[in-house]
């Protein structure tokens, strides 16, 4: 059984990961990243 403290830590980690993942899908970043990634080739 996971302790409440550990569960809270894992929740925080997952929330941060979800936030960063979401950042990749902001319209500005998608266009920016796509153009830069493609520009490399």
């Amino acid at each position: 059984m996971m302790s409440p403290r550990r569960a809270l830590a894992w929740t925080a980690v997952l929330a941060v990961l979800a936030l960063v993942f979401a950042a990749y899908f902001s319209p500005h970043l998608v266009v920016d990243l796509a153009s830069r990634v493609w520009a490399c080739f």
Binding site: L33, A34, R36, V37, C40
Partner: protein, 394 residues
Amino acid sequence: MTQVLVCGAIIVTLSMGIRHGFGLWLQPITMDRGWSRETFAFALAIQNLAWGLAGPLAGMVADRFGAFRVLLIGSLLYALGLVMMALATSGLAFTGSAGLLIGLAQSGTTYAIVYGVIARNVAPEKRSWAMGAAAAAGSFGQFLMVPVESWLIGHTGWQNALFALGCLALVIIPLAFGLRQPPAAARSGPQQSVAAAVREAFAYPSFRWLMAGYFVCGFQLAFIGVHMPSYLKDRGLMPDVATTALALIGLFNVFGTYATGWLGQTLAKRHILAAIYLLRALAITAFLLLPLTAWSVYVFAAAMGALWLSTVPPTNAIVAQIFGVQYMSMLGGFVFLSHQIGSFLGVWLGGRLYDMTGSYDLVWWIAVALGVFAAIVNLPVRESAISRPLPQPA
């Protein structure tokens, strides 16, 4: 242990993260300076080679004189390299800064150096987990810094973005205080010379098998990381598919590295490594044989992401298990050198064979064959501590 782990994890987050988005500077720098893409690519190739070649030396210094000094110099070189990268007006200066200086900085601030301290401060039964946690932090740094660096370039300009990263690299210095430890001479137990440690490792077949596996790891990751967008473009997929794939690789990489470190506490690490390389070969095979769609790319990216840096904790944990922790950073540096040679070949051969054959198919199948080879050569690795003759009484 907590202090070492937290400081080490943040250091690796910064050192792995800062350099990960360097591709984002290609367009603004080459346009502003009027350089060819080759100038930029050459500097990054030198960076990767310098990182690998300096790794054993940086590791040896860290093992002998403490990781703190190496981290301090590494952090300063990192900041200096970033600032000079922003100010470089010739290809030579750019290669010296973005290539040589930052490559040397990485050899002094990334996994091998931090793992040496972790290995010496964490109980053997928890070492694999601790290495997994630190590797996951490095993976998170890579995942985090791409959008951060894109935002910085977009809002402050490419030069100011590099200055900001230079300041960020200096944050490694206060964190390095958390990894201070007594120099090798002050530690208890029998001491081995550097030359004896190197001779012993290279004469031991399992060390060579680990190096061979890590070579394959570098080959596969560098080929996919560099040539994948080009491959998708050739096959008619939209640019946003590559961006989503990049995000998925980054996300699953964090879980994969942590999971293999955690699994290494209970399972044989050679079996974990063999499974990783075999699963990579299977994932690439399925990707090549199934119809290519946006969703097949996403599934492949998630699978490869989970297997991306997952080789790092078990490989380094085995090195510590076999040879002990006295020269952990140096031996980790040698194994990493093999990784970087594989990376160099993965990038170069990918381009070379594409030019020769007009497609990436041959390199993809080489990556599959190498994956099977790496799975096989990791199976006979002996994880038990090497037996050394007892010191003779004087």
